[in-house]
């Protein structure tokens, strides 16, 4: 069964061509001399130069990274707490409502999440800016983190924690010294997921941002609406490069850790 039939090879080739050719075109044409994005006029890196001169774009990029860093860190703390409570703490008052509130944002259309949060911020008189985007992103990202972390919590034995408690650890010590190291990979992937979701979000940020804080997706969207531009191609290429390097590094590190663990287990 391990030899691929022609049909399978064809569907894989076509499928991956479909997934990657559009991005490849984007990358190639970011080095195009011409302002006309669909006509090749020679190699040039001038659009990257112009991008770096574009202060509004740089400001937006800075706001985006700041928002993503703050909201993913907050979301990781809150999401890990939520996952721990759901998996390890059994019954408590209002548990059904709590689990509903964790899963609902995952399937909620972004336009509704954005609209409802904006109406809340207006109702309580909170000025829209970096803070409101961070609050909004933390709220939906913590739900993703809690799903990732709870799947890891479910899969390991809670007798390890009980042993620590029996041996005199406090609950906090048991969590910090036993549970946290075991769930750490899931917490890190949760943080990465939250970070990317925040970097990527256009709809919720558009609702919850004010004139004082524009994020990169908002900036890209308003310029893309007017058509294709070589500067946006250059920006896209930079983003694609960062993501590719990041994802590959993360997967190589995690693969190494798995091999090391398997070796240690084999040795023991």
């Amino acid at each position: 069964m391990n030899r691929l039939s022609t049909f399978n090879i064809v569907s894989l080739t076509l499928g991956f061509a479909f997934l990657y050719i559009p991005m490849l075109i984007l990358v190639i044409y970011s080095f195009n001399e011409s302002k006309l994005v669909t006509v090749w006029a020679g190699f040039s890196t001038k659009w990257y130069g112009e991008l770096l001169q574009n202060e509004a774009m740089i400001d937006a990029a800075w706001v985006t990274v700041k928002v993503a860093f703050l909201s993913s860190s907050l979301a990781t703390i809150l999401g890990t707490m939520a996952a721990y409570v759901m998996v390890r703490r059994g019954r408590f008052f209002g548990r059904t409502l709590f689990s509903g509130m964790i899963y609902a944002p995952l399937v909620m259309p972004e336009v509704i999440t954005g609209l409802s949060l904006l109406l809340l911020f207006i109702a309580i008189g909170l000025d829209r800016g970096v803070l409101t985007i961070v609050l909004a992103h933390t709220t939906f990202a913590m739900c993703y983190v809690s799903v990732v972390v709870s799947s890891r919590l479910i899969s390991f034995d809670d007798s390890l924690e009980e042993a620590a408690l029996d041996l005199g650890a406090t609950q906090w010590e048991a969590f910090r010294l036993v549970t946290l190291p075991i769930i750490a990979p899931a917490v890190i992937s949760g943080w990465l997921l939250a970070f990317t979701l925040s970097l990527d979000d256009l709809v919720i940020a558009s609702f919850t941002s004010g004139p004082s804080a524009t994020t990169l997706p908002i900036k890209i969207f308003s310029s893309v609406r007017l058509g294709v531009s070589p500067e946006i191609n250059a920006l896209s290429t930079i983003i694609i490069a960062i993501v590719t390097v990041g994802v590959l590094t993360a997967s190589i590190i995690s693969k190494r850790q798995i091999t090391r663990r398997l070796q240690e287990e084999a040795a023991a």
Partner: protein, 295 residues
């Protein structure tokens, strides 16, 4: 300690998730007004009990009656459902053969193939949609290519039509279809197919009688993972679709940002949620059934 552990995330979600919905529901029952904020009534607690009673007396279902009477909204809901259903089906057509081939590939290749499917998912959604503008426009790469090989004599109009929206959705949501189908097919025992063929099934029969039923939970999960978010999609119809592309996410956005009609935008949101409840509940049931089957 324990109270804090439960209390902090609980309170966060109450304030930033549940309360906002209450506000949306309330504003959907209000009337639009030229004021800041642009709706009436607003609650004035200093007026005491009678002010609160007057406040509730002013709430009504006028906006929902308006949505029901105006063709635009009916058509937008129906066309969102249609676009979501067609693009889910198209994603399945593209995604299933890929998932199947990945599950049949040598075990050593599978992690790399999985990586190739997941990588675009980490890349910006907006950029992936944007990439298609340059391909599908009248002077775009697809038209240039088709003119060059001589299939067409005139450039096709694809950008700003529903076809472009379908292509955009299939492209961006493909990983959500491939991954669940792959994970069911990967667990499939290959000897089942051999047994079926030994017992006289043709390859096609074995595929329909064994592979497809075994992959069903993955097919259902993948379809919902595409269908549910597509229904409220905003970015794809607004960048790739045209003026004729009616989708409810876009209508809500325009109602809110362009017409500044917050009460109608809120009512549109409430109806969209009510429509979403059915597929979400079905999806949950499918996931539970699958989890129980695996125990």
């Amino acid at each position: 300690m324990r109270r804090l552990l439960v209390g902090i995330p609980y309170l966060w979600l109450l304030v930033l998730f549940l309360v906002p919905f209450g506000i949306v529901a309330k504003i959907s029952l209000s009337d639009v007004a030229i004021a800041i904020p642009p709706y009436t009534p607003t609650l004035d607690l200093s007026g005491g009990w009678s002010a609160i009673r007057a406040y509730f007396a002013e709430l009504d279902f006028e906006n929902f009656a308006f949505l029901a009477s105006d063709d635009l909204y009916w058509k937008a809901y129906l066309s969102s459902l249609k676009i979501a259903a067609i693009s889910t089906f198209l994603t399945l057509l593209v995604g299933f053969p890929m998932a199947y081939a990945m599950a049949r590939a040598p075990a050593a290749w599978r992690p790399a193939l999985l990586m190739l499917v997941i990588l675009p998912f980490w890349t910006s959604f907006l950029i992936r949609v944007y990439a298609w503008i340059g391909i599908l426009s009248t002077e775009g790469f697809l038209n240039q290519f088709l003119l060059w090989i001589g299939v067409i004599n005139e450039p096709l109009t694809i950008l700003n039509t529903n076809l472009a929206v379908y292509i955009g959705i299939v492209y961006t949501y493909l990983p959500f279809m491939i991954l669940p189908i792959y994970s069911t097919l990967e667990k499939m025992d290959g000897s089942l197919l051999e047994a079926a063929e030994d017992l006289g099934c043709s390859r096609a029969q074995a595929f329909w009688l064994i592979t497809v039923p075994l992959a069903r939970p993955g097919i259902i999960a993948g379809s919902f993972l595409v269908f549910i978010p597509t229904l409220g999609e905003f970015v794809i119809p607004s960048l790739l679709g045209g003026s004729g592309t009616l989708m409810i996410g876009k209508v809500l956005w325009e109602e809110f940002f362009n017409n500044r009609d917050w009460p109608v935008a809120s009512a549109v949101a409430i109806i969209l949620l009510l429509i979403l409840i059915i597929p979400i509940v079905l999806f949950q049931k499918n996931q539970q059934r699958q989890a129980e089957a695996e125990k």
